[in-house]
Symmetry: C2
Subunit: 314 residues, 2 copies
């Protein structure tokens, strides 16, 4: 398999529910009027808490600072696993499950905190751009066992040699082996995962604008109904797809907002899923992480994660 | 002909160029998401100076007060001429020309200031809701000679009798007979007048959003090029139409902003046009008035208005 280090320097930001009106103008530009902006990477995820917007530095320029905008301090690089035909993975499961053993687990072992953005087509693994050199090397040595590593430069993918090192790691004080096991919430509603040809975007613009900007009142109490969660994730280039009409259920990870420094959170969830070969999309947001699993697997996943909590707490 | 007094109480407002971002959220709702609002009358006109938004009181609630929003103090009622088959007008010309003799001139004679909003389908004549009772009667007596007058109430049109009186007049200090002749500007660019089936609105939403909210920088100097004027008028229900692909030229009326109190301005422009049977759309905005005339008539119209200025100033 190939590991691509994409040519984007990303910022992770958060718009409060009450700030959405103020940011409607730049967000509509970033989502629907792509040729008005030089932004090449954009993702927006609505959760009951807030809106998480991940975007490159060109896109970030569109967002004026205000009390409604929080910005994580680092720049992040997206990594992307590309299976080149003769895949070494034996798993048929989709999403993060497929890359758990090869990427997620090694990153956790190297104490690299990751921010995951799954789409139907691919899973973006965001890692911090700046990290100590010795960790770059350790990380590179780990990943190079599984992958040919390429770095995107001006649209071309150039092979990365060991001394160039793969970016992406920041040692965290907390050891992955003794990671906190976070409480999980399993809301009752079902989710669709679907994709759109970017060409059809104009045709459904008013519907998407309605859902994104007008379907919830910001006065809504986020904690009103923990059984149902409003969740809408929208990457502009690579939209979700559903070939089969199947429905998905969510596991939300975290009782308190997770922050950005802890490593091993994705691995904690994706490893048991990978062992059972259960497909999963994994979407990090500013406050919490979210895994989507097939509806028929939600009970076993729920049980699995409960058992894991007990195992670690005893 | 019938004169309908429509069941809308309208506000005339103005958003500054630099305030557009702030009002993008409510404006997109009012234009594209009609079932999210109870607003039934909406018109937006962009000029180099600002955005004029005319809307009913339900729509007005959507616009939060700010230093970027100016609101004219009165409530306005829209009048609408409906030709019921056996039209008494001998004119084949479209727009305001058709109603000059029957409505525009009598209103000017009664010293009623009007705010015009032409669309392809119809011409809305906005008059102030509150006016002295003796003027109501005078106005009614004048209009009743030409029209059967109906007032819309809960979707039905009820005949208006003389003692009920037609609303709409406010005597102005300045006499129509001695009205100021305002300087006119004839920009060089051509204009399209077109209509859209409301059903096709979603299909062109991104294009319209682009034109409305992203095509001009608010740093643009409004006076930069008086030869060309950016002008975009958008009523949500009754959109412009062009059956023939013909192009239109503009006459902008006013050197200084016209205000809302002077009467006879529309009559001053539309009377010579009516005499020559030249079609015209007439669109008032917060600062200036605008007449659109067929491209082939612009020179004679220009000349006509020059002669008129000289006649009055001598």
């Amino acid at each position: 398999m190939d590991l691509h280090i994409l040519d984007h320097r990303l910022r992770v930001t958060c718009i409060s529910k009450s700030g959405l009106q103020r940011y409607t103008h730049p967000l509509i530009k970033l989502i629907f009027l792509r040729n008005r902006t030089r932004c090449k990477f954009f993702s927006l995820t609505e959760t009951p808490e807030n809106y998480t917007v991940v975007l490159d530095e060109e896109g970030f320029k569109e967002l004026q600072a205000s009390e409604h905008l929080q910005v994580e301090g680092s720049t992040w690089l997206p990594l992307n696993v590309v299976s080149n035909g003769n895949t070494s993975s034996s798993s048929q499961a989709a999403g993060v499950t497929k890359i758990t053993k090869s990427v997620i687990a090694p990153l956790a072992e190297q104490h690299v905190s990751v921010f995951m953005l799954s789409t139907y087509q691919t899973d973006f693994i965001l890692v911090r751009d700046q990290q100590p050199r010795h960790l770059q090397h350790a990380l590179h040595r780990t990943l190079v066992e599984e992958f040919s590593i390429f770095r995107e430069e001006r649209g071309e993918f150039l092979p990365v040699h060991s001394q160039d090192a793969c970016d992406g790691s920041q040692r965290n004080g907390r050891d992955a082996a003794h990671a906190t096991v976070h409480p999980v919430l399993v809301p009752e509603n079902q989710f669709c995962v679907m994709s759109l040809d970017p060409e059809t975007l104009p045709a459904i613009a008013t519907t998407l604008i309605d859902v994104l900007f007008y379907s919830s009142s910001f006065k809504e109490d986020a904690s009103a109904d923990p059984e149902r969660i409003k969740f809408f994730s929208f990457p502009a280039d690579l939209l979700f797809t559903s070939s089969s009409g199947e429905l998905w259920r969510m596991v939300r990870i975290g009782g308190q907002p997770l922050g950005f420094d802890e490593c091993g959170i994705v691995a904690q969830i994706s490893q048991p899923l990978a062992e059972s070969d259960i497909s999963a999309y994994y979407i990090s947001t500013f406050s919490f992480d979210h895994a989507l699993v097939p509806e028929e697997d939600i009970e076993s996943v729920s049980e699995m994660l409960q058992t894991q909590r007990k195992d670690i707490s005893t």
